[in-house]
């Protein structure tokens, strides 16, 4: 009874919190490429509230651990290094990339967007990189002194909604598929395209059945690249290094995890980290999440190398640690500010959901942004059962 009351109060608090966060987000300055969409803050806030209600229904009301709403299945977290290109041209030396050759300690979280279902589910996969030891003030108001910088990516080039309004529509359909007809009637052609894109990202994703080590991941939406000699929107991508071994997955519910662990038992896994630059007159639209900047490899410039060293990551301890991490585009330096209304909505929604789930899981004390991968790498208990074995900790 007490636990239920606590959850109820937490939920109510988070709803209030989302409103405050939204109001704050509305004051974020826009860059020259951005335009505030009508009621985008309200749309984001309502989506956050709806998602909180869904999390409460799916997890909290049933006494279960509250997983994150976005990409709840952590395929696994791995320690890695992120090394800036030693010969990076002078004009690109800004923010995270200010010092050529600098190597950042980091943790990468690979994920699926569906819940604790198996790896075989046709689905979008995520690759979120958290760099440690990044000096400078960060954009997330709650954590300006965090030494981290996050890069969030999915294995698709574009977001499946143009804007926050369309995304809110998808959330409503997710809540009740019967809402699809109203969504389609509102804007028949544009919303048919949104629905098609949503399917293409999951059941129709061409990466389904492929190893994580062989997939390319994309920022989908643009960010800023700002320095003394550069000021432009960019998109980033992590591309498997040349020569990655092609292997078949084992067909099990843990096929992606097993494949990655198998590779990391034998050696390192590597990605190139590249940027694609905004081009005037090319039809790129910073405010449109579905704006495709093309996939021509020649359009990308390498900025860093990601190396995932040989390691054991598939343990309950490490999955639990991984689940507690908060990956947020606004864990970022101003030089790499997230752009566009989708990113602005993410700021509102991610912050609310992250705080909510840490509170409902009674793990707020563990919500501190880590300062290195040391604690993660120090987790030595080899026990590995299943994802669902992670229980909600008892309330203090």
């Amino acid at each position: 009874m007490t636990t239920k009351l606590l959850h109820l109060l937490t939920f109510a608090g988070m709803l209030l919190c989302s409103s405050f966060t939204s109001a704050f987000a509305a004051q974020m300055p826009l860059t020259q490429w951005e335009t505030l969409a009508p009621d985008e803050v309200g749309e984001a806030r309502r989506s956050a509230d709806e998602l909180l209600r869904q999390i409460k229904h799916d997890y909290t009301d049933q006494g279960k651990r509250a997983f994150r709403d976005a990409h709840p299945r952590g395929i696994g977290c791995v320690a890695a290094t992120f090394t800036v290109e030693p010969n990076l041209p002078l004009k690109y030396r800004t923010g995270v990339f200010a010092v050529p050759g600098k190597s950042y300690d980091s943790i990468i979280r690979f994920s699926s967007s569906l819940g604790p279902v198996g790896d075989q589910a046709k689905d979008a996969r995520g690759m979120a990189i958290k760099l440690f030891g990044v000096p400078g003030t960060k954009l997330l108001e709650d954590q300006p002194n965090a030494g981290t910088h996050d890069f969030l990516q999915i294995n698709a080039r574009t977001f499946p909604a143009k804007n926050t309004h369309d995304f809110a529509g998808l959330v409503r359909i997710k809540t009740n598929p019967l809402n699809a007809i109203a969504f389609l009637r509102e804007s028949p052609i544009a919303h048919a395209l949104v629905l098609k894109a949503a399917f293409s990202l999951s059941s129709g994703n061409p990466n389904n059945g492929k190893s994580l080590a062989e997939m390319q991941f994309f920022s989908m939406v643009p960010y800023l690249m700002k320095g003394s000699s550069i000021n432009t929107p960019v998109k980033f991508t992590s591309r498997p290094c040349a020569g990655v071994a092609q292997r078949s997955l084992d067909g099990s519910d843990g096929e992606l995890r097993n494949d990655l662990q198998s590779r990391l038992n034998e050696g390192d896994v590597c990605y190139d980290f590249l940027y694609q630059f905004y081009r005037d007159g090319a039809g790129y639209d910073v405010e449109n999440g579905m704006s495709d900047w093309g996939g021509d490899p020649t359009l990308f410039t390498k900025f860093a190398t990601i190396n995932i060293q040989k390691q054991t990551f598939l343990t309950d301890e490490k999955l639990h640690y991984c689940d507690n991490l908060s990956m947020q585009p606004w864990h970022a330096l101003a030089e790499h500010q997230p752009l566009g209304n989708i990113n602005r909505a993410r700021k509102i929604i991610y912050e609310v959901i992250s705080k909510s789930r840490h509170a409902t899981n009674n793990e707020s004390n563990k919500y501190l942004e880590p300062t290195s991968s040391t604690d993660f790498q120090a987790l030595r208990d080899p026990k590995f059962s299943v994802w669902d074995a992670i229980k909600v900790p008892a309330a203090n």
Binding site: D58, A70, G115, N176, V194, L195, K196, S202
Partner: protein, 95 residues
Amino acid sequence: MNLHIRMAVVAGLLCSATSLLGCKTTTGSGEKSVSFENAEVMSLQEWTTACQKELDHPTTGSAAKNELMQVADTTDCASAYPTVKGILEQVYHRT
């Protein structure tokens, strides 16, 4: 045919999209039963009329035509209908 489908199936279709910003993911525990027996699917006439109106719009018609091409590889509303109907049925998981 069982028209009461588990919400988990629908989640498989849409969650990837909504997850990107934040969406709940239906787990085994969160399954809900939803009936789509009488779920409404846009008629050919309704679709064609609404679609053509968008294509004929003086300022946004060109963009709409481009989007229709991306949806169904055609700029003809009637020809695009089977694709759109299929998308809607996927949402309802009738296919």
